[in-house]
Subunit: 291 residues, 2 copies
């Protein structure tokens, strides 16, 4: 029998989501940064995202930073759709030996991220795990987005420039715990420019760009020389490290000039173009990056 | 340092939720079966609920039944607020050795519950856990409810009759895996009667009724002789077993006669009354039940 470890996450999700029923309210279904549902001009974003001790954070990490990360990951997904955070539900699954003080600090971290970037906690639950089980924090909830500002992964077109915000790679040194979800930037972008496709960079450009390109039915070309590298990071690390939580988007507009006046402290870099082409050239991520 | 095992779930949640910020959109916050948010006549219910192997189901249990349960628990909470299911997000946290076939069957169980009771899956994620970690399934999402039909735990008043649907106790024999969320019943109740307070019975009447009474600022009196017992179950088991997933609600209306004509196969039983009284008499659940 095949295990989920054999299959890999993308293929598992594809199998599970095949043939799911839809409804009149469904605007964007599985496979994007958020689901989009609703009617009228104001739509609802739905998202859930979990962090697990030993996978997404070290068990000895400060709880406050873990809380920030757990919430900021969801906010980053709302940003990637062009939306804003609304109300969140927090599930904390804990073994009985976890200290109450740790959980309180975790919540302080979540609250401080929300106080800064918007959104509130409106419920959730604590679930008891068997002793010794790693802590898991799952954050789910809704965001809001104007129908006219929704951006998906699938709207990219051949000829679009590929942009990334910030610098890539080396997130494990600390940024992965205290990154800034790019809500203000995404909101500004969708208000002022034609953003055709967008997502947040969670698994590294080498994995995420092929996903965006595939969903847009395009190939891509990137210029490795232009990649915005975090200090002391190689091109390979910038492509593969992951957890950048920067925006990856495509547009035919020239954005860099105006961007620099509005967000002078955050680089915006054009790293390549979407091109016409078969999906084959981009299957598998990193190995298939064109040069 | 105090652990979460020392503190207990209710107290931990109370601490974590103290002083959470609110927003204009927040109608009902933490502490009820769902959060209620939105503006206008149609409101949004937000809920998240997790099941863990070894806690909520046996690891060797049929995946299809586990999937049914994971979804039906959330639907039962939508019912308890007077609402209906909308779109759900499913998080499946898995160790790499879990078989793909098990996960596929899990989804079949979720889909069959939704096909029968309404609601669709619009996204979610798979999260990898360290090898050997128990499987966890977290279901989050939104329901819809007419503002005029929202029922909370806190609307009960002294003099209300206390009703329960179905029979209580013995759920572990199987009902906990294939119960029917009482959506049709709750919807009918809120359309035809003044339901002052409602919740679903997940932890047993002995724990859940004191929660409802406390949130309503009431005491309660129940007549143990009237409790609707599942076959072969003692009064103590009916009170304490939990996982009944029946409706517990209060109303001054006489409902039983009409109920019997609409739902002839599901008992409705008046088990007591809310009374004026201090919170003290009901603290702690079972031990403090009045006789």
């Amino acid at each position: 029998m095949k295990s989920v470890g054999d299959l890999g996450e993308d293929e598992l999700i594809a199998r599970l989501c095949a043939g799911l029923p839809v409804s009149d309210d469904l605007v964007v279904g599985p496979g994007d940064d958020c689901a989009v549902v609703g009617k009228g001009d104001q739509l609802t974003l739905l998202k859930t995202d979990a962090v697990v001790a030993g996978v997404h954070f070290l068990p000895e990490e400060e709880a406050r930073r873990v809380g920030w990360k757990a919430v900021a990951r969801v906010l980053s997904d709302f940003a990637a759709m062009g939306g804003k955070p609304g109300e969140l539900l927090v599930t904390v699954a804990l073994a009985p030996e976890v200290e109450v003080a740790w959980v309180s600090e975790l919540y302080e971290g979540m609250k401080s991220c929300l106080a800064k970037h918007g959104g509130i906690i409106v419920g959730g639950e604590t679930t008891s795990l068997p002793a010794g089980t790693p802590t898991m924090i799952s954050v789910a909830g809704r965001g809001v987005v104007a129908r006219s500002q929704v951006v998906t992964r699938s709207g990219g077109r051949p000829g679009d420039a590929i942009y990334v915000t910030g610098k890539l790679g080396g997130s494990i040194r600390g940024k992965h715990l205290d990154f800034t979800p790019r809500l203000a930037e995404a909101n500004w972008l969708t208000q002022h420019f034609e953003v055709n496709a967008m997502m947040d960079l969670s698994d590294g450009l080498a994995k995420d760009l092929p996903r965006l390109a595939r969903m847009s039915g395009c190939g891509f070309e990137i210029d490795r020389e232009t990649l915005p590298l975090s200090e002391g990071v190689s091109v390979e690390e910038a492509l593969g490290d992951g957890e950048d939580y920067e925006l990856l988007f495509t547009s035919v507009d020239e954005i860099e000039g105006t961007w620099g006046t509005v967000f002078p402290n955050l680089p915006l870099t054009k790293v390549g173009f979407l091109v016409a082409g078969s999906g084959e050239a981009i299957d598998g991520g990193w190995d298939h990056f064109r040069r």
